[in-house]
């Protein structure tokens, strides 16, 4: 098992040869992150795969609504030189589309289908990314976007149970002191006289 510091250096040389890196983070000795332009993603992933990063762990998106952008995340892992690589790229929020990586990693088919269903990102190159996977007969905007409110949807469609609200204290004057005196008086009367 190689020393993990030299793994990260090897990786840095490799990636900087292929494309221009916009941002680089070294999160721990086993994890690094690169932020790249969306057109370099394919080349980067196929080169990494030929050097041993054969497993696609996760593919998803993040919604940055203030900057009006989506961020697509790919996480790959190598079991022989253990470093997890996060590759992130930003795409536009109005007409989001990203080339599918199905020819490189065939396992990405269902991840992309789910990203389309929950965010609305189109993946040309994936034959059936439009079919619904987890939701059925969904009639609203894609749910994981930041402008979707789940509790409003839930109140609209599913009725809640109402509980009677007769426990609320509605009077303004402080009744606690009066009740406390009353309780004390009753307790001493039951005990038969003053406290010992």
């Amino acid at each position: 098992m190689m020393n993990s510091i030299s793994n990260v250096e090897f990786l840095n040389e490799l990636v900087n040869q292929i494309c221009k890196v916009q941002k680089y983070e070294n999160i721990s000795q086993y994890q690094v992150a690169y932020e790249v332009d969306k057109r370099d993603v394919h080349r980067l992933l196929s080169t990494l795969k030929s050097h041993g990063w054969k497993q696609l762990s996760y593919l998803s998106a993040v919604d940055w609504i203030e900057e009006n952008q989506f961020e697509v995340v790919y996480i790959v892992f190598n079991w022989d030189k253990p470093v997890q690589i996060q590759i992130r790229c930003r795409i536009d929020r109005e007409n989001p589309s990203m080339d599918s990586i199905l020819p490189i990693f065939p396992g990405a088919k269902y991840y992309e289908r789910e990203a389309h269903e929950f965010f609305g990102i189109a993946f040309p190159g994936n034959p059936d990314y439009k079919k619904q996977l987890i939701l059925e007969m969904w009639d609203d905007i894609p749910p994981l976007r930041k402008d979707f409110d789940p509790s409003a949807y839930s109140d609209r469609k599913f009725t809640k149970r109402d509980y009677p609200t007769d426990y609320a204290v509605t009077s303004k004057d402080n009744q606690r002191l009066v009740k406390r005196e009353e309780r004390k008086r009753r307790a001493t009367a039951l005990r038969g006289g003053n406290k010992q």
Partner: protein, 192 residues
């Protein structure tokens, strides 16, 4: 004082004989209830300890059953997402009467921890009639067994009439189902 001579035979009306046969049927029914094996949600993890030798369910006469047409109890274990509710209504209507529904967990009561989620229904009573609720998140296996014993007591005192309500208020239940689900019977390329 009654005389020891022959008392004349009073013929019972049809409703009274029906009621007596129904009482005999209830006695046999409540001592051998069969449970439909359908794990709808997370509380189904507490069901194998109840079925196997840890907290044995067979001493109450209950056992698992494979098909809905031959089962007595539909056990709704936990929350219900929209997709499961469609299939659950379909299964409930396939069961033969009399049938009982037991709801486990606090999610069928008022939504539980998922009350503000877009995919989980909040109150099961609106869509299917429920006989017994067992509260908890998740309820202990002994609480589940207690729920079953309560159901047996309800059948004995003739209060477990959920299936009759489904027939009486069928329109109200159907309207609620359509508001929440849109369509109860699915038709994609598979279900034609």
């Amino acid at each position: 004082m009654k005389s020891t001579k022959f008392t004349p035979y009073t013929k019972l009306s049809k409703t009274e004989t029906d009621r007596k046969w129904w009482e005999i049927g209830d006695f046999f029914r409540r001592n051998s209830l069969w449970l439909l094996m359908y794990c709808t949600g997370c509380c189904a993890i507490e069901l194998p300890p109840a079925m196997t030798s840890a907290y044995d369910m067979e001493r109450l006469g209950m056992g698992p059953m494979a098909t809905p047409r031959q089962a007595d109890i539909l056990l709704v274990s936990g929350y219900l997402s929209l997709k499961t509710l469609r299939r659950l209504v379909y299964t409930y209507e396939q069961m033969s009467e009399p049938k009982y529904v037991v709801a486990l967990g606090s999610c069928p009561i008022n939504g539980g921890i998922y009350h503000d989620s877009f995919a989980v229904i909040n109150q099961l009573n609106q869509y299917i009639p429920v006989d017994v609720y067992v509260a908890g998140c998740m309820p202990n296996t002994e609480a589940v067994m207690n729920g079953f014993v309560d159901l047996i007591g309800l059948i004995k005192s003739k209060k477990a009439n959920g299936w009759k309500e489904y027939h009486k208020n069928n329109d109200w239940f159907k309207e609620n189902q359509i508001t929440a689900l849109g369509k109860v019977v699915i038709d994609d390329e598979f279900h034609q």
